[in-house]
Symmetry: C2
């Protein structure tokens, strides 16, 4: 593993570049981003060594490992575009938020005799805002980095897994379908709830400056935490909603039912049982 | 203001005692709690100077200010029990999470010629767990402390407000009805959502040890924050649900509708508008 190409040099992509360098990788890191400012930031902060000039250069670049660090729909596009150009010696991996569609496409276009390999991955790290400027070499320290394993691991895959472990991440394998179910519960549902609560409060109080001032004065840590993810950009979450629609819809539906149950039991002993069950989950 | 009696020496009550001492109050602090261990802890840590022996001693104690720091239903009980025993020179105040029923009762039993005064209050501070052992002199520093003002402020009320400002809290007045509406949005709804999400995850994964392990490994800051309040005790929230039922039910109903809207628009441009509105709230 001498040359790594990072496609998408935002928060996660640039952090991968910084983490590679911090953990002793001495090869060359190429980078490209559709947003010229993100690309320039990543180069200026040393997350990449060389900025590629355009999409054609990405396709023709020579690299051992290509890290796709864009939103999921663009990852799928890049996988299709790159597959016919790459040989057996190349590993494509990604950091996308959903894995079922990526693993399906990897099975169709990669991981066969003569084709490049594709190992779908997902670091459980991020911030509510994106961008290369927020990138950190330590972003993945202590975080779980999931892989959806492919049969017959190659040397390059083993090398990439070891590198990720060197970032300080806990590497863990998971089936792609299972990934999308669990992530709907622990990541996508919390995001949609936080967005919905933030948008609802905006509708409720934006036209009432005294009310909004009261909300800001009275709202404490609980409100800040429950709405923090309301800052998250649509650009990333659109692709999660598009590629994990059924699982996310199922968790939303389940929570709607649960909130109705709480609402109907505000004055009954059932509320006690709900609090005790919640206490158990948090133990 | 020479003698303060704190009824309920848990997290908030004991923190009031510690904050009084830290801000230079040199009078005597009496305390009582229905839980003997909480009372002993508060005495041992110096949050109170003297532990009263029982409910009768609370009623007959001589104090200038009585701080009711129990859950709301017990505050209402104490207000009824104390009113006939107290004279004009005494101020009763409280730290309860809802204010409408307390202010109504204060209007009926207090604040009249010959009766004691009652100034309803609510510090927007706390932790997801309770108990005197977690009490801190600085718990109220930087927090908003709300009062529901009564016409014709007495010297003792002014003194209590000044003392609270000395705790480092930002004192702010609010109408009791308005308090309960705003707190339903910024405090009670976040609590019920966090409890419902925690209880739902417990139901979904508790019987599946591999699944629960995956939830714990994969769930990051978003999950931790969105379920943190799941640790909150029923004992306190029961009284909020009992005394602010209609407002809490209205916010839950609104969020149910909002989540259904998000669910129905996971693949439409309406989701973009929802994210942008949430981004605006968080700005």
């Amino acid at each position: 593993m001498r040359r790594v190409l990072i496609v998408g040099t935002g928060l996660i992509g640039a952090s991968v570049g910084l983490a590679l360098k911090a953990s002793g990788f001495t090869g060359k890191i190429l980078g490209w981003d559709a947003n010229a400012a993100e690309l320039a930031d990543a180069l200026a902060m040393g997350a990449i060594d060389e900025a590629l000039a355009g999409r054609e250069e990405v396709v023709s670049a020579s690299a051992d490992v290509i890290v796709l660090a864009t939103p999921v729909m663009a990852i799928l596009d890049w996988m299709q575009r790159l597959a016919p150009e790459l040989g057996e010696g190349t590993l494509v991996t990604d950091v996308g938020s959903t894995k079922r569609e990526i693993a399906l496409l990897a099975g169709e276009l990669y991981n066969k005799g003569g084709s490049a390999r594709c190992l779908a991955g997902h670091p459980m790290a991020g911030k509510e805002s994106g961008g290369a400027r927020l990138a950190e070499a330590n972003l993945f320290r202590g975080a779980t980095w999931l892989f959806c394993p492919v049969a017959g691991e190659t040397v390059l895959e083993a090398e990439w897994r070891a590198m990720v472990a060197g970032f300080g991440a806990a590497v863990r394998d998971i089936d792609a379908e299972r990934h999308d179910v669990v992530c709907a519960w622990v990541s996508h549902l919390p995001q949609m709830v936080s967005t919905a609560m933030s948008a609802m409060l905006e509708d409720e109080f934006a036209g009432d400056s005294k009310g909004m001032a009261a909300v800001q004065a009275i709202g404490g840590r609980a409100l800040r935490e429950m709405t923090r993810l309301g800052s998250s950009p649509y650009s990333m979450w659109r692709d999660v909603a598009m590629t994990n629609t059924e699982n996310v819809a199922a968790t939303l539906w389940a929570l709607e039912q649960r909130l109705a149950y709480v609402r109907e039991n505000l004055r009954t002993p059932e509320l006690r049982a709900e609090f005790l069950k919640a206490n158990t989950f948090r133990k």
